[in-house]
Amino acid sequence: MKKILYVILASFILFSCKDALVESPKSLAVETFYNTPAEVEAAIAAIYSPLRDGGCMGGLYPTQIECYTDYGYGRGSHAMLSNFQGLDGTNQTKTDGFWGYFYLSIRNANIVIGNTPKGTKLTPADTCKYIAEAKFLRAFAYFTLVRNWGGVPIRTEKNMTVQNIKRNAAEEVYQLIYSDLQFAEANLPDNAPLAGKPSKWSAKTLLADVYFSQGKNAEARDKAKEVILSNKYSLVPVTTADDYSKIFGPEVITTTEEIFYLKFSRLGNYLGFSYLMYLNHPGTKYYGGGGYYTIYSTTDNSVIAGWDKKDLRYSLWYSYNIGLGANTILTKKFVDPLAPNAGGGGNDFPLYRYGDVLLMYAEADCRASGVPSADALEKLNMVHRRAYGKNPILPDTSVDFRLSDYNKDSFNDLVLKERGFETQFEGKRWLDLKRTGKVKAIILAATGKVVADKHLLWPIPVSELNYNSAIDPTKDQNPGY
């Protein structure tokens, strides 16, 4: 009998060991991370991931914003965007998604900014450099938010876990952007360690753009000028339209005009640029993943019709009947016939390239001083010459604009027009039109459509209004929603 009891007792005690209930996952924990340079770099890389996502700047975001232009039209579920009457439910779901991705990126930046100073194996110089990169990216995300939604809730490393916070004014958001970018400008390296990472020059370019969009033209000009004078960048020469693949093609790793791009690769599943899926048609085989041909134009669109056909950039359009008439044209600015699938484009998304900076400088200079200068004109001509296959830095009277032909306003209009040609499909036109206050006039002139006021800002997502009680769903919502 005794023996039996021992057996029973033993079997009960055998497993009554408390340690069995302690979890030991084979994964990394927040509490023990962010100590070494490699760990922080991986955490910083996670700030890029949401931005690069196909639901954000890797696809839907540029698609959405390119439907709001004077030179193109949306198709399918994007068709209503080109009516400029605000968003329907389907498209609101898309902008709600963008909001989520930008804020996820901001959260990941906040994690880096908050945790890096506590890193046990980081030098003060490392810490500064890493925080600078995170702040640069945070500023970029807020800059995109504030231009599309107006004022938004500001989340930094200090309030990142507070559920309910109010919607800040646009100016407050800009203050954060300035302060982040000034830190980034001071602490980012002179040369980006990898293509796709920011240097101090990227920070200056972004800062110039922020000043520019706020109408702080002198500051914008000065920052752009610093970038130009650094002599770190130059335009890639082209001689034929096909040469544009040296700038935008899938095989390009980096170029001399790259200032800050989102990088994509055919490597791996869905690490490519799925934006190409929305631009291409499966019948052309320009994109290995097929295509939704979401954005198209027609040869009788006034921007297209009025475009000098000798401009090589014009030849990036080609005629293709998608069933909406023989005059339909599609773009081949971004193509990758070898993309392995819908999310597999190897091309990169140029957020800031040298051409931008030159045009930014030209316009800001003219706006700041009230008169077009020879220097400003030269910067415009550099971009213009390249588009005609000329050497960007050698004056060429056959294509160059002449200073005497322009006053302040006509010069600004000229630059805006050139920007329109130069940055097509780079997600810039709509924001440029809004910045200059000419959006309604230009869209009306080009497409005959009246831009509704509610179309100028995207609605604050329902997922924010429902769960952030500091935002009043009626009072704090953008007009028209």
Partner: protein
């Protein structure tokens, strides 16, 4: 009574003894020895007696005993004999005085001699039958020698085997004899004797009328189950009549009624309160099971499956083949489930596989073959209608017509895509099982091949399973059991369902234009997305999926367990149980380069689930004076759950030959992925049963579960329960109520829980991702989007009250149960503002209530030659969300078809679970576009704007009641079975209908209904809106349909061949049958089938959504059952 499950038969026997106590009260002693006999089924016990009777006398002669006792009782002597030998005694202590003091000295003598000495001078006689010794008073025999009429006869069982030791008693007296070794009896009866009563343990007593006859051949039937049926409960078994909880038992013949890949599918409609809904009609498709409603938002709502004592980790017990199953017990109330603690909240399904029996080895072979077809074809537009339809849309949108009149005239019916995709498909099931054994060792082995082709070309599911169960008695105190099932499931899926505008196989099958054929003139697949300028850019020719995509799955499952049972003293039993469940899954996917826009895409993955279990239970049972009966079990268990995964992929292949077996050959190899998770559950459990006077039954149980998944300090959960039952029929005042043959009242109350979360859910983990710099991959590491929090157990409190009543000698039996379930500390995902980066967190907030009523009726409507049995059940459940985090609504279920994107369902305080939440349609505007009711706004008043404030409750997926009706009629060798099943009052959101009745801008084929009745200026009161591509519609009550149905799930006509008459003696039985499944369905639901649950799954709160689901088939089956 709380013995172990393996003792099912033991209890049965005990009860039988009791029921015969006025005749021969059999005292059983010396447990270890008895065990050998008592674990056998009774009929087989008899069989053994006869087979071994030749040895019995030999044994009696050979066995020498040494007895030397002074001043001992007869009882002690009998004990001593039992100790020294394998004999055991059966006697009635009222007739045999065992307390008599005797002195006895016998050395090396046979048992006969000892007994003669022992009973010398008394009226006690004895008879040795095998190792069983019957003691009875002489007067039984002597009386038989009184004056009267001499009668004789033979008592056999149904198979003709003689029954020795059966009591043959003159009715109304205690006068009688017992049968001898060959079952014969003879006795002299008073001349006025009307009848004899013949009885034997485990057999139905039988009365034979004398009526002038002198010889009687009596065939005793095995006592049918029913009241004395033994059912499995957690960690034990109990007589059905002693149940205190709510347990439904489903037997093998019901489970095997028709071929199905999943035992739960066979249970649909069989048990009240158990709702089984098919998530997909695909072969081998999964089902959702809800017992007494949905309790959890975050966690699984599927019951716990316990297979032969092993808590199975899968959500569907597909490891077993239906013919391997002896019985399924569904534990519903807290008293029954609390012993499973943290896994009991959704009910527990105990599955017991078949066991071997001692005696002749039996071989059973069953085979069936059926043909399945699409239950109903949807009535779509033909080619001419299609062209006319889209021309009307073009005209409305001021576009040039897409088709010329000549073209339209040239179109006839066009191509029928449904006919191409849906085919007639065979289903077959073959099982061979062999059972046998002897007194000590028993075995059961079976093998099954189940092969189901899907009604969508190219889909199939096969199951190969091999099961063995073996038990043996090592010695008097130790016994051993081992069971193992090896199963291989393979499936080729054509499950591409859901999707948007013809994107999926099933969507494409009804959306493809009837004006187009699947092939181009050159034999290549037609690319539908570019076939017409106005067509959807995502529509895919279904042939791409059928011919150019492989999606294969395979799982190899081992479920094995072994137990060592140690019974050191009478009534005390220690069981050490070990088990393992190991599942190796493999999936292979390849899309060829011929698939539209594909460069070749491959992925392969394998995962491994291992669960190890150790259970140590100690049980004790004791009866005192027939008045008090105790049972207790305590135990400690440990189970761990390990999951590992490895997957790879690649895109871009030079050749399709390699499929997914050369991922390295991809032009873009994918990033490999792997994962690991492990959790542990440790538990202590205990239960006490007490019954007084066989009238008042009490049960109390508790389980303490420690789970690794919860936060430190909240790891342990305690789940107690209590129950009381009153067998009213046993009360004196009920004895004379002839009408009522059984009446019992039951009540219970207790707590169960749900783990509800995944391993590591309370930890701040980081997950890795990849990003690109330059053109290379870099690691990106960040937390996920769920903010971890401190979590504790989700607890369900349940009260149950019920009664069982039987009338007219159990001819009609009704069981009724009412229950109330409250789930507290509900783990609830709390949405966070999206600006937080974390989109949600999980918290213990919220409360859900389910209450309901279940009725089950069994009726033997006709007995006799024409037999008609019927059983019916019906269950009403009402769920209500009581409390949610901050009163916040939870939106769930998604309708994501581009044309309409919204959440389908809602959890809101005060409402049933998962009600449909959308807009109310309000007719059409002047241009024929649908408009919606303006119900509210931010300030609660209509504001002229249609926005989210105007959404309201538009439907409820929860049925008012579900029911099943089974009728079995038999006449001679023919048997007709009808099985109806239904659901009433549940709504379905028909998401498929969006694409094929409303979304007019994308060249999708529409139902004929739309063609016939859409808005035009002259038909403004139409069912469907104006045909335009510029309409923008919302999720409204238009999509909600009544999903009630009644279906004839199975009809079967079976013929039992009279093999004995036909001289085919080698057959034990031979049956052939023809049956049909789902042949008739009464429903108003417009789409393929009302039994649909596209977003169904273990933790889904989004029920009742139909989104291009694999349709349900109907089938006709022929089968044969042979026994040797």
């Amino acid at each position: 009574m709380l013995p172990d499950k393996s003792d099912a038969q033991k209890i049965q026997k005990t009860k039988s003894f009791k029921s015969m106590k006025n005749l021969i009260h059999l005292y059983r002693r010396k447990p270890a020895k008895q065990k050998i006999l008592l674990t056998m089924r009774l009929t087989l016990f008899l069989l053994v007696i006869s087979v071994f009777s030749a040895f019995s006398n030999t044994y009696a002669q050979k066995t020498k005993l040494d007895i030397n006792v002074q001043n001992s009782t007869v009882k002690d002597v009998l004990n001593e004999i039992e100790t020294q030998s394998e004999f055991f005694f059966m006697y009635n202590n009222k007739q045999v005085d065992v307390e008599r003091i005797v002195n006895l000295d016998a050395k090396s003598t046979t048992v006969d001699v000892v007994l003669e000495k022992l009973f010398a001078g008394t009226n006690v006689n004895f008879k040795v039958v095998n190792r069983q010794i019957l003691l009875f008073p002489n007067n039984l025999i002597n009386l038989a020698e009184q004056q009267g009429k001499k009668v004789s006869g033979k008592v056999t069982d149904q198979s003709g085997v003689a029954i020795p030791g059966a009591a043959v008693v003159v009715k109304g007296t205690t006068t009688g004899v017992s049968t001898d070794n060959d079952g014969s009896f003879s006795l002299v009866i008073p001349t006025d004797t009307k009848a004899l009563v013949i009885s034997f343990v485990g057999m139905k007593s039988q009365e034979v009328v004398i009526a002038g006859k002198t010889t009687f051949n009596v065939v005793l039937e095995e006592e049918t189950i029913g009241l004395e049926e033994v059912v499995a409960i957690g960690y034990g078994t109990v007589k059905k009549s002693d149940l205190t909880g709510s347990v439904t038992s489903v037997k093998s013949n019901e489970i095997k009624a028709f071929a199905s890949s999943n035992v739960m599918q066979s249970l649909s409609g069989r048990a009240p309160g158990v709702q089984v809904s098919q998530n997909t009609g695909a072969p081998g498709g999964s089902v959702s099971v809800r017992i007494r409603g949905t309790n959890s938002i975050q966690g699984s709502n599927e019951p716990l499956y316990v297979i032969d004592g092993f808590p199975f980790t899968g959500s569907n017990p597909t490891v077993l083949s239906n013919s391997d199953i002896e019985s399924v017990e569904i534990l519903k109330d807290a008293s029954a489930t609390a012993i499973y603690g943290s896994r009991g909240a959704n009910g527990v399904v105990l599955i017991t596989t078949k066991r071997g029996k001692a005696g002749k080895t039996t071989v059973d072979f069953e085979s069936s073959y059926g043909v399945q077809t699409l239950r109903k074809k949807l009535n779509m537009m033909n080619a001419k209608e299609y062209a006319t339809f889209y021309n009307e849309q073009a005209a409305n949108d001021k576009l040039a017509p897409y088709f010329t009149q000549d073209q339209i005239n040239g179109f006839g019916n066009g191509y029928d895509w449904q006919n191409m995709v849906f085919v007639a498909a065979p289903i077959s099931n073959t099982t061979l099982s062999i059972n046998g054994g002897n007194e000590k060792t028993k075995f059961s082995v079976s093998g099954t091949l189940f092969d189901q082709q899907g009604i969508i070309k190219g889909s199939n599911y096969k199951k190969y399973s091999l099961r063995a169960y073996f038990s043996t008695d090592i010695n008097e105190m130790l016994s051993f059991e081992y069971g193992a099932t090896l199963t291989k499931n393979t499936t080729s899926r054509q499950n591409s369902s859901g999707g948007n505008r013809g994107q999926s196989l099933i969507g494409g099958a009804i959306s493809a234009p009837p004006t187009l054929t699947p092939y181009n003139d050159d034999g290549s697949f037609r690319v539908l997305a570019t076939a017409y300028p106005f067509i959807s850019n995502v529509i895919i020719n279904p042939l791409n999926f059928i011919n150019e995509q492989k999606d294969d799955g395979e799982s190899n499952i081992v479920l094995a367990n072994a137990s060592l049972i140690f019974e050191p003293i009478k009534d005390l039993k220690l069981k050490i149980y070990g088990g393992v469940e190991n599942t190796d899954n493999r999936s292979d996917y390849y899309q060829t380069t011929n698939f539209v826009n594909s460069q070749g895409s491959a992925s392969a993955s394998s995962s491994n689930n291992v669960s190890l279990l150790n259970e140590n239970t100690l049980s004790y049972n004791k009866s005192i004076n027939d008045k008090h009966s105790f049972g207790a079990v305590i135990g400690f268990t440990y189970q761990d759950f390990l999951y590992r995964y490895l997957g790879g992929s690649g895109n871009g292949f030079l050749s399709n030959v390699t499929e997914d077996f050369d991922l390295g050959g991809a032009s873009t190899p994918g990033i490999p992925s792997s994962s690991y998770s492990k959790s542990v559950l440790m538990s202590y459990l205990g239960r006490i049963n007490y019954s007084f006077n066989n009238r008042y039954l009490f049960t109390a149980s508790v389980r303490a579960d420690g789970s690794s998944k919860y936060s430190e300090g909240s790891k342990w959960g305690y789940f107690p329960s209590g129950a009381f039952a009153w067998k009213i029929k046993e009360e004196g005042f009920m004895k004379n109520v002839e009408l009522i043959s059984d009446l019992k009242f039951r009540s219970s109350y207790g707590y169960t829980g749900s783990q509800a979360i995944n391993a590591y859910a309370t930890l701040n983990q980081l997950s890795s991702n990849k990003t690109i710099f330059g053109d290379a991959l870099y690691n990106a590491i960040a937390p996920g989007t769920t903010l971890p929090g401190d979590l504790r157990w989700e607890t369900t409190e349940q009260a149950d009250m019920g009664f069982d009543i039987a009338i007219l000698k159990n001819r009609f039996r009704l069981s009724a149960d009412a229950y109330l379930k409250n789930t507290r500390d509900l783990l609830n995902s709390v949405k966070l503002p999206s600006s937080l980066g974390f989109t949600q967190t999980i918290q213990n907030v919220g409360q859900i209530r389910n209450k309901g009523l279940e009725l089950a009726l069994d009726a033997k409507i006709l007995t006799g030659e024409f037999k008609w049995d019927m059983n019916a059940n019906i269950a009403f459940n009402r769920s209500k969300v009581i409390k949610l985090y901050g009163g916040q609504d939870i939106l769930t279920g998604s309708i994501n078809v581009t044309f309409i994107s919204d959440n389908s369902s809602l959890l809101r305080e005060g409402l049933p679970m998962g009600v449909f939440y959308g807009f109310k349609k309000d007719g059409y505007d002047s241009t024929g576009k649908e408009i919606y009711k303006d119900l509210s706004s931010a300030n609660g008043k209509p504001d002229g704007i249609i926005n989210q404030f105007d959404k309201t409750i538009i439907g409820d997926p929860n049925p008012d009641f579900i029911y099943g009706l089974n009728s079995t009629m038999s006449y001679k060798n023919l048997e007709l079975t009808l099985f109806f099943q239904g659901s009433q009052g549940n709504d379905i959101v028909n998401v498929s209908g969006v694409g094929n009745t409303l979304d007019y801008g994308f060249g999708l084929n529409m139902t004929k209904d739309v063609y016939n009745d859409h808005w035009t200026p002259t038909n403004t009161n139409a069912k469907y809106p104006v045909l335009t591509r510029s309409s923008s519609m919302r999720y409204s009550d238009r999509l909600v349909e009544d999903g009630s149905f009644l279906r004839l799930r199975n009809i079967q006509l079976m013929y039992t061949l009279p093999t004995q008459k036909l001289g085919m003696k080698w057959f034990r039985n031979l049956q052939i049958y023809a049956s049909g499944q789902n042949l008739l369905t009464w429903t108003k639901y417009s789409w393929w089938d009302p039994e649909v649950n596209s977003q169904g799954g273990a933790n889904s709160t989004a029920q009742g959504i139909d989104h291009y689901s694999y349709p349900t088939a109907k089938s006709v089956t022929l089968g044969i059952k042979v026994g040797f």
